[in-house]
């Protein structure tokens, strides 16, 4: 009886050790793999997903929600769609954001751009040198943005708004001439009807232009291990991409 119990304990200890060694080896493999091609390795991908989900729930779900769909009322981006503000939604892009954050004070974060407040006093503000706009100019830009999205808009106002966009407002500088944004600095696409802040109404667009936006994603590189960061990046990637195993079945 004692012999059997001892054997079970030894087997248990060995199992725990084997699991630990396996996890250690898989973790090392995951870290050494190319983040943008690891989805092609189903076993590694599943291993990362298993760990990533719990890290996401513990660290990210507080803002993004457990399903990662965010909250436009709070300017929390939806991670489950195919619209990426920064980069192209590759695992390496996501990993960089998790690691260094957005406007997080980390020197390696995406800190380059933020949406200026054109309805505030911009005297002495060092963020591009563009002046404040009048309320009418902002309303005109709102109409221009609505027209770009193919929504009903006042044509004369939108025409004036286009001029503000390309001249006084300097909106083109970040959102680009065709208003399709710039993922290199996190400038949103203005023609795709995906609204990061608010419900896309005239008032919420006015508020964004008049009072500015500068959401923050924390940098986790001092709080999470490199493995946990890689795992959670894979989990976030999976929210908007079909898993390799499922893709194979299609």
């Amino acid at each position: 009886m004692h012999m059997r119990a001892g054997l079970l304990i030894v087997l248990g200890v060995l199992s725990v050790l084997a699991i630990g060694v396996h996890r250690e080896r898989m973790g090392a493999r995951l870290l050494r793999s190319d983040p943008d091609t690891l989805a092609a390795d189903p076993s590694l991908y599943q291993f990362a997903l298993a760990g990533g989900k719990s890290v996401f729930n513990a660290r990210c779900a507080g803002c993004h929600g457990e399903d990662g769909r965010g909250d436009p009322a709070r300017g929390i981006p939806n991670l489950a769609d195919d619209d990426w503000l920064y980069g192209e939604g590759l695992v390496s892009d996501i990993e960089r954001i998790v690691m260094h954050g957005i406007r997080s004070n980390d020197p390696k974060a995406w800190n380059l751009a933020h949406m200026p407040a054109f309805g505030r006093d911009r005297t002495g503000v060092q963020d591009g040198g563009f002046p404040s706009l009048t309320p009418q100019q902002i309303r005109d830009v709102v109409e221009y943005v609505l027209s770009l999205e193919g929504r009903p808009a006042s044509a004369p106002s939108a025409e004036r708004g286009a001029k503000v966009y390309k001249m006084d407002g300097g909106c083109y500088d970040c959102h680009s001439d065709d208003a399709r944004g710039n993922p290199a600095i996190g400038a949103p696409n203005l023609v795709d009807r995906v609204t990061l802040y608010g419900d896309g109404s005239r008032q919420s667009l006015f508020d964004s232009i008049a009072y500015g936006r500068s959401g923050v994603c924390p940098a986790w590189d001092r709080k999470l291990s490199p493995l946990a960061i890689r795992e959670v990046a894979v989990h976030v990637f999976s929210l908007s991409h079909i898993a390799p195993l499922d893709a194979a079945r299609l």
Partner: protein
């Protein structure tokens, strides 16, 4: 061997074997920890790093980012030569950083000092940045600072300017404007000139700049359609006619949440920095020259 399985009886063989197993397990654990733990000398490059330079790691993520920055390729598409070049550059940088520490560059180079201060502040701020405050804490903060969270007021105001010696005409104009006896565009007949820098709809801050503080304070108190009493500013007398005054509207918590969170975090970071600075000052031995005490 007969009492091997009876723990209440002494068995020398069992004791020796268990002791040996314990010793081997301990040695294995110690060896593993010795060669893998951070801060100790190791012969293995951890999987999250691409190299160790005098035991200082060069992180894999930095390597990938550098590869992307220099050559615009990910690791799967980088040539061996590109990888080698990036790695050599990073090793060179690490060697020079280590040499810089030995030479105590921070004591002489203001850029290095500034970078070190920033890095330490970032380290201090990490907790505040990564902590997600509860909504209750944010609501409390919002309630304590409601004056910060409002939409800018809007006004469309006309400023009729009279010479200093035309105070009576200014009084008449104000009275006529209030009673509606004179149309705003006929005020010129009373000897006034309308200021061209106001008249269109403006944000409060812009009106404050354009009118100056005295006239702005008078203007923002006016309701729609109201005219002010004559106001003397320097060598001129002004009568203000308010066409539309939309006073600043407070933002609800949900509308201001993003801004509240940023302000809450900024205050938390400042608080932590001040606390750390106080701690550093307390434990430091600081001597100040007599003439500066």
């Amino acid at each position: 061997m007969s009492n091997w399985r009876e723990p209440n009886r002494v068995n020398t063989s069992r004791s020796m074997i268990l002791m040996a197993v314990g010793a081997v397990a301990g040695l294995m654990l110690a060896g593993y920890a010795l060669f893998t733990a951070r801060g100790t000398s190791t012969l293995f490059v951890p999987p999250e790093d691409v190299a160790l330079v005098n035991q200082q790691p060069i992180s894999r993520s930095d390597f990938l980012l550098q590869l992307q920055t220099l050559f615009g390729v990910d690791i799967a598409h980088a040539t061996t030569e590109q990888r080698r070049q990036v790695l050599n550059e990073m090793i060179r940088e690490e060697l020079f950083v280590q040499r810089g520490k030995e030479l105590d560059v921070a004591s002489t180079d203001p850029d290095v000092r500034s970078a070190m201060v920033n890095a330490v502040e970032l380290e201090i701020a990490a907790d505040a940045i990564t902590t997600q405050p509860s909504d209750a804490a944010l609501v409390d903060y919002y309630k304590a600072h409601t004056e910060k969270y409002s939409r800018e007021g809007l006004m469309t105001v006309h400023d009729y300017v009279f010479p200093k010696d035309a105070l009576d005409q200014a009084r008449r104009a104000a009275s006529d404007l209030r009673s509606g006896r004179v149309r705003p565009d006929a005020v010129a007949q009373l000897g006034a000139k309308e200021s061209p820098i106001v008249g269109d709809e403006q944000f409060y801050f812009a009106a404050r700049i354009h009118l100056g503080p005295v006239l702005f304070d008078a203007a923002r108190a006016l309701d729609n359609g109201a005219a002010s009493d004559p106001i003397t500013v320097g060598d001129t007398v002004h009568v203000l006619l308010m066409t539309n005054n939309t006073r600043p509207l407070p933002l609800s918590f949900s509308e201001a949440r993003d801004q509240v969170l940023n302000d809450f975090r900024r205050d938390a970071i400042n608080h932590m920095r001040l606390g750390d600075e106080a701690f550093l000052r307390k434990r430091a031995n600081i001597l100040i020259a007599d003439d500066l005490r």
